[in-house]
Amino acid sequence: MDNENLKNIINSVITDCEFSGDETQFLNVIVKPEDFRKLAEFLRKNSETHMDYLFCLTAVDWITHLFTVYHLTSSINNITVVIKVKITDRENPVVDTVCDLWKTAEFHEREVYDLFGIKFKNHPDLRRILLEDDWVGFPLRKDYKDEVNIVEL
């Protein structure tokens, strides 16, 4: 299956999405938080795509908005797709969890919550994972200030 087919499949599930697959190696699709769960479930369970391996889950802070980035691939056929969920609400960012679809997401979502403050709805155990429980702020956000530990050069 090539990227064109994949685009058509994704378009058949959700209509409101952007593609950008030209300048980078994988097909990128930007979706809204409310559509994301539906797309993820479809890609995981559909026999044609069968995306059963979530090999990277992270987030990127673009100041105006946040992206959670999911790198998905299939263990059967060689297709990869990068789903980016665009979250515009910086104060209270919420995305649906996918840890029931890919178990590895449980730890990775905790890590994203820990470092970016993105909350995952229905996550069974959303706590900080790398930092202490009483840490204030979300260090990987671009507006994070820590005068003690970070030396500005």
Binding site: C56, T58, V69, V82, W102, L131, L140
Partner: protein, 377 residues
């Protein structure tokens, strides 16, 4: 005792109670500062809750301030046992962004040293695995043979553990004149020694009893948890990046992808032993055919990646390492994410060890081959 007294006596027998035990942060078999909160019923594990972050050094945050050349050095400190492969991942990712074609010589040198790193990592794992199961002698044997590899590294890279040999565009120095000879000597030596490893542990009844059908991980779970590397392949998840998405010189060598289907500790053990044979095979194919040429492609002093996102997967000794660089055309990356194999492998520990005994948890943990800095980053 009357019947009534007997009944009340029986009723007052206290029920068994689950209790908690902290395995770590300082514990001999967590191999670092990992803390596992175990819920136990007697010796049977009911639940495992890993608490991470004791050596979280915020490498990803530091990367956002550093230049691309500096990032490479930070990756040494993640999975220190396969540091060269970590370096390689970052360099490959940067080279992908720059669309830089590295000389053939560099590709071959990188591949050879990667495989030597993998060998040394597996040797150390073998020793530690034996020690976790109570056979302390294996630890010393593993270290004895690993020493020879670190000597080779020392001669060529100047360092024994955190080598920093890779730079974007190539390797830092050309290989030492003795490199080829010493590597070949080592392979001849180790081909004789590896069967000794088998004799000491693989055929041992106690060892097989301790590892067979212990810490079972099904193929579906392995994929779902993203358990990669020898651990994943022992469950039947064919995930060798060297085979699926060849990088450096892996596309020109012949080697087997080791896949077992049992998914227990013994399969993971066998997978790593078999991988050592494959690594030696790869080195033997390349060591006499290192092409002549530059050891480094020319790069600018200040590297700026074009705007965009770059992802590079490599196969470390522990599994799939992903480097995700988001660039905004500045001298340091906008965001770097290291998808470390240990982090995903650890998340499957609860599923694997639940219902087993404490002793089995130790066996399971050591066959997962956890390196804590790799998990915490």
């Amino acid at each position: 005792m009357t019947e009534q007294e007997l009944i009340t006596n029986i009723e007052t027998v206290p029920e068994t109670q689950e209790y908690f035990i902290n395995m770590g942060p300082q514990h001999p078999s967590t191999h670092g500062v990992l803390r596992l909160l175990l819920t136990l019923d007697g010796e049977i594990i009911k639940k495992i809750e890993p608490h991470l972050g004791y050596i979280h050094r915020s490498i990803e945050k530091m990367c956002e301030k550093d230049s691309y050349q500096q990032i490479v050095h930070l990756t040494d400190r993640m999975d220190y046992l396969s540091c060269h492969i970590n370096n390689e991942a970052v360099c490959l990712c940067v080279e992908k962004g720059l669309q830089l074609e590295v000389p053939e010589r560099v590709k071959v040198i990188r591949t050879i040293i990667s495989e030597l790193t993998r060998l040394s990592s597996h040797q150390l794992w073998w020793g530690v695995m034996g020690m976790d199961l109570g056979a302390i002698t294996t630890f010393l044997y593993g270290f004895r043979d690993r020493e020879l590899i670190t000597d080779i590294f020392e001669e060529t890279c100047g360092a024994r553990l955190t080598m920093n040999y890779n730079v974007p565009g190539g390797v830092m120095f050309d290989i030492h004149p003795n490199f080829q000879k010493r590597t070949k000597d080592f392979i001849t030596y180790f081909r004789k020694k590896l069967p000794e490893y088998d004799e000491l542990l693989t055929g041992n009844v106690i060892f097989t009893e301790r590892t067979k059908d212990i810490g079972y991980l099904s193929k579906d779970d392995a994929i779902s948890f993203g358990v990669t590397g020898p651990s994943g392949r022992a469950s039947g998840f064919a995930c060798d990046v060297r085979k699926r998405f060849p990088y450096s010189a892996y596309d020109r060598v012949q080697f087997e992808e080791i896949v077992y289907t049992e998914g227990d500790c013994f399969a993971r053990y066998k997978a790593r032993i078999a991988e050592m044979w494959e690594s030696m095979k790869i080195i033997e194919q390349l060591i006499d055919n290192i092409p002549e040429g530059e050891h480094k492609a020319k790069t600018k002093a200040v590297i700026k990646l074009p705007e965009g996102e770059y992802y590079q997967r490599v196969e470390t000794a522990r599994g799939e390492l992903g480097v995700y660089i988001v660039s905004d055309n500045k001298k340091s990356p906008y965001r770097v994410k290291f998808r470390s194999p240990g982090f995903s492998n650890l998340s499957a520990l609860d599923t694997m060890a639940r219902g087993n005994k404490i002793a089995d948890l130790v066996a399971t943990m050591s066959t997962l081959d956890l390196v804590i800095p790799d998990i915490d980053r």
